[in-house]
């Protein structure tokens, strides 16, 4: 059975938006107007598919002002930012930097609040906003804090567990709503651009294609980086030891973060079913605690190496950095560090003297990270799998 494919008729004209290039410059794509479409980036990019226009075509969209096409391009999110294109660009147009800026632009474009755009255009304001939100959370917690026992560290006696819990739930719900709006906007854009309709996905053949695409997007690519390891990391082994390779480091960060999420959920789950109350002291080997500790260490290692690599510019992929990159890394690192130190404070003598402060900082920063998720680089955890889904779907459709 053939699938319904609605491609845009070639005769219909695209209305350009002349301000797009200047907008993208404001999002950090400073050099891309030097591009004269020679296609060297396409020739060197390991991710180029059969149509052989990636990433050149995306630069063209930005240059000309084809905003809808840019926002609706799934290819934008398939890029791993290896930096080969920028290294080989004869015009110094920094295609990789452009792709990163265009992703920021897409995050802002899908964001219904307009907050993301405001933060990306004014990096200093973004730093201030992140700091302010964290301080606000901390102040709120300190405002309701009880007495801090000095003899032993009782964190939830200091800040009520319920408050943290419900604040977390509220923030997550808020973030979820914003993220859903963003994802829906993105899905509609890409689906229209790709000619994918609901009918396409719900037919019997369509359903199996959709499932395999979803598996590929979520598991093979998002969790296991198959294409990166297959296509993009060919020469990385020669340049970096395994413990510094990008996919290992990014994997430890992501898996560590996921492990922490699972541990938190499990902790809450155990208290829900009445097995143990949140905040009950446990030995290190207690399974949930052990998972959290190991995940936390992996996470902190990953983030630290990412930050160090970026700081030392060890790779062509981190030759240039934007405030957006640093803000995301800094928040992750601070959350990880304060968390680990808080845990440490539970086990070292006299830990209570600094444990409470760290704990408040940790919770405030974690909430900060969560609140800003849809507006900062963190949003890629939502948008990238969606784009990868459409990418895998298109591949599957062209193969079938």
């Amino acid at each position: 059975m053939s699938l319904d494919v609605e491609t845009r008729p070639t005769t219909s004209a695209v209305r350009l938006e002349p301000g797009l290039a200047a907008d993208l410059r404001a999002f950090g794509a400073r050099d891309f107007t030097a591009c004269f479409s020679c296609g060297t980036c396409t020739a060197t990019c390991p991710l180029v598919d059969d149509d052989a226009t990636f990433p050149r075509r995306l630069l063209r969209y930005g240059l000309l002002g084809m905003r809808d096409d840019l926002l609706a391009s799934k290819e934008l999110w398939t890029c791993y930012h290896c930096g080969l294109c920028t290294e080989s660009c004869p015009q110094g147009a920094d295609p990789a930097g452009y792709m990163a800026a265009a992703r920021r632009y897409a995050i802002a474009g899908n964001d219904p609040t307009g907050l993301a755009g405001a933060l990306y255009r004014r990096p200093r304001r973004a730093i201030a906003a992140a700091a302010l939100v964290a301080v606000a959370f901390a102040a709120a917690m300190l405002g309701v804090s009880g007495t801090a026992p000095a003899s032993h560290e009782a964190l939830f006696a200091f800040v009520p567990e319920g408050m943290i819990h419900w604040t977390g739930v509220a923030v997550m719900a808020l973030v979820a709503v914003v993220a859903v709006f963003g994802v829906v906007a993105m899905v509609r854009g890409i689906a229209r651009h790709e000619g994918v309709t609901w009918r396409t996905l719900t037919g019997s053949a369509g359903r199996s294609l959709a499932w395999s695409a979803a598996w590929s997007a979520m598991v093979t690519e998002s969790l296991a980086f198959k294409r990166y390891r297959d296509d993009c990391a060919e020469d990385e082994a020669e340049r970096a030891p395994w413990w510094r390779r990008r996919w290992v480091v990014h994997g430890l960060t992501m898996w560590g973060f996921t492990g922490l999420l699972v541990a938190t959920m499990a902790d809450y789950g155990l208290s829900l079913v009445g097995l143990r109350a949140t905040g009950t002291p446990e030995p290190v080997w207690y399974p949930v605690r052990l998972l959290g500790t190991i995940a936390g260490l992996a996470f902190l290692y990953g983030v630290s190496v990412l930050a160090l690599n970026r700081l030392r510019r060890v790779e062509r992929s981190v030759q240039t950095s934007e405030v957006a990159d640093w803000l995301f890394l800094a928040l992750l690192w601070l959350v990880g560090l304060t968390g680990l130190l808080t845990e440490l404070s539970l086990y070292v003598p006299g830990g209570a003297s600094f444990g409470y402060g760290l704990f408040v900082a940790h919770v405030a920063l974690a909430l900060d990270l969560l609140v800003l998720l849809p507006f900062m680089k963190f949003a890629h955890v939502v948008y990238r799998p969606v784009a990868l889904f459409f990418h895998a779907l298109a591949r599957a459709r062209s193969a079938s």
């Binding site: 350009l16 002349p18 410059r25 030097a34 075509r57 063209r60 000309l64 084809m66």
Partner: protein, 589 residues
């Protein structure tokens, strides 16, 4: 290849002439299609031919040296070189003849490359026959050649410069620096021309008006230069080195006459004026490049047009240029000028979106940097197909340019913009009176034509009339100035010696003339006048005014006119040789 390169006939059949013949391979350009050895063998026994050989490259130093040896050794009094076009190597072999002590006009060039091997590459036997005929014609011509000496004339150390733009001003300064007197005439009431209206230019960063002001100061500082404004050249007589020119000033003033050695014509260009409706010309917000440049040059701060801010611009290139049936040439300055103005706009406000809709970008040499800078500052270049030019329309208050972009998967794009700039090129100045007065030839593009773009870039077929600047074709300011300086150098070469040698290949009248005036009526150079000799009215041809075109000779009912170097007898000999009738009686007639 030949087994024996040289053939020397045992006994010359014509004792009167001793002619050497060289047949060139041109490294294969000729010998691949013409059996040069067969040609050599065919003409070896011809009357007057005492030496004939084939040579790989006749123009090579070694062969030139051999020719000189041969001329000395055999006492040759005629030289025939069968090789390429006379345009290429006549000066070369004339020099060989001179160095060998032979009169340079006793050498004959035969073209068996452009006129034979290249056009008959499919027919070796036919090409060989034709080459033989052509060489025989050359031998026939050489056998009647006579020594001729250049005509020497005294020259006036002064020049007339027509046109007070950047080229004319620079030429005037240069001529004065060489010690020549200069009269500079300008039709308008001020100096400066097109450059005088320009703002900053690339790469100097200097404003056109300032550059012109500097040149005007330089002109004013030189007493040898006389500037006449609102003045035109209305008459010219005399011959090279001694032209009498009549200059008519503002209404009411008396025309003045002057004698000058040379004329430098630097009358510039006009800008192409699009027809109403051509790419939307006439719609508010659709400007030509000069109009837009003026808008940018005459304002500062954020760009506005008609009181409204300009946030986006589309440039449509090649308007009026490279059009079949119209101006087919490329004006070659407009791409650069547009890149320059786009950079100026971006410097003022880098958020202005600038779309360049082009056919080909020609920003050569150092101007490549400007093209690069324009792109780096945000200009986007979109190529459109020759047969699918962009369309400029207005939708309500909004200008929209529709085009197709190859680099975006051939997508049809609608670009909403605040301004459309039609990138118009240069067209020849409306100069009909001056052109016909000076009898200057125009190229197919309507600009003045030089003799050779590389070898004689500022000379025209009218001796002593030089061209400079954009009157010759589209040029940038620096190219205009360079051509002005070339005209200065050429004027110096012509005038500083105080005398000049002219080509002696001119028409002459013999006693058979009975003055009917037919020749004078067809002479395009006014070189023929009626004189009285021994009470008889006859024609006299000025050897300095005559260009040797030969136009008069066929009109003479008495066959009294001959063109030196190509006399009637010589032509008949050539025809006979070409036809293969090499008879004694023709030779001795």
């Amino acid at each position: 290849m030949d087994t024996e390169e040289r053939v020397t006939p045992e006994e010359p059949t014509d004792a009167r002439r001793r002619i050497g013949v060289y047949i060139c391979h041109c490294g294969g350009n000729i010998s691949d299609f013409v059996d040069v050895a067969a040609v050599r063998d065919a003409v070896a026994g011809d009357p007057g031919v005492v030496h004939v050989e084939t040579t790989l490259f006749a123009c090579s130093d070694a062969t030139q040296h051999d020719m000189i040896e041969q001329i000395h050794q055999d006492g040759l009094d005629g030289l025939v070189v069968a090789s390429c076009s006379p345009k290429l190597h006549v000066p070369t072999f004339r020099a060989v003849a001179r160095r060998a002590g032979l009169n340079q006009f006793q050498y004959t060039q035969v073209n068996i490359r452009e006129q034979c091997s290249w056009v008959h590459s499919d027919d070796r036997a036919g090409a060989t026959d034709k080459a033989t005929g052509l060489v025989r014609a050359g031998i026939g011509h050489a056998s009647l050649s006579v020594p001729l000496d250049p005509v020497t004339v005294a020259t006036v150390p002064a020049a007339l410069v027509v046109g007070g733009g950047v080229a004319g001003l620079r030429a005037a300064v240069g001529l004065a620096e060489l010690g020549l007197g200069v009269t500079l005439v300008e039709r308008a009431d001020h100096l400066g021309g097109a450059v005088g209206e320009l703002g900053t230019m690339f790469p100097s960063g200097l404003a056109g008006r300032d550059l012109v002001a500097q040149l005007v100061d330089e002109v004013a500082a030189r007493p040898a230069i006389t500037v006449l404004l609102e003045t035109e050249l209305v008459a010219k007589s005399g011959t090279f080195g001694n032209y009498e020119v009549t200059l008519r000033g503002p209404a009411g003033s008396e025309p003045v006459t002057q004698t000058v050695g040379v004329l430098v014509i630097a009358t510039g260009f006009d800008s192409y004026e699009p027809a109403l409706g051509e790419f939307g010309y006439g719609i508010d917000g659709v400007l030509t490049l000069p109009e837009f440049t003026h808008l940018v040059d005459s304002s500062s701060g954020p760009l506005t047009h008609a009181g409204r801010p300009v946030r986006s611009i589309a440039y449509v290139y090649c308007v009026g240029s490279r059009q079949p049936g119209g101006n087919e040439y490329c004006s070659k300055y407009c791409c650069t000028a547009t890149a320059h103005v786009a950079v100026e706009v971006a410097k003022r406000d880098d958020r202005v979106a600038q779309y360049h809709l082009y056919r080909d970008v020609r920003t050569y040499g150092v101007y490549e940097l400007l093209y690069e800078e324009a792109r780096k500052r945000g200009s986007v270049y979109l190529k459109f197909a020759d047969d699918e030019p962009p369309a400029v329309t207005r939708e309500g208050d909004q200008l929209v340019v529709t085009t197709r972009d190859t680099l975006t998967a051939d997508a049809t794009l609608q670009i909403p913009v605040d301004l459309v700039v039609l990138v118009t090129g240069m067209v020849p100045t409306a100069n009909h009176d001056l052109t016909s007065l000076l009898k200057l030839p125009l190229g197919s593009d309507g600009f003045y034509n030089e003799i050779h773009p590389k070898l004689r870039p500022v000379e025209t077929v009218v001796d002593g009339v030089l061209i400079a600047g954009a009157s010759q074709g589209p040029k940038t300011v620096s190219e205009s100035v360079a051509s002005a300086l070339a005209a200065v150098a050429q004027s110096g070469a012509m005038l500083l010696k105080g005398q000049a040698e002219l080509n002696p290949l001119v028409a002459v009248v013999d006693d058979a003339c009975a003055w009917c005036g037919a020749c004078a009526s067809v002479c395009p150079y006014d070189a023929i006048e009626q004189v009285e000799i021994d009470g008889r009215a006859v024609a006299r041809i000025s050897p300095t005014a005559c260009k040797g075109c030969g136009g008069c000779a066929p009109y003479c009912p008495n066959e009294a006119i001959n063109l030196l170097g190509v006399t009637t007898d010589q032509v008949q000999h050539m025809i006979a040789g070409m036809a293969g009738d090499v008879h004694e009686e023709v030779l001795v007639s």
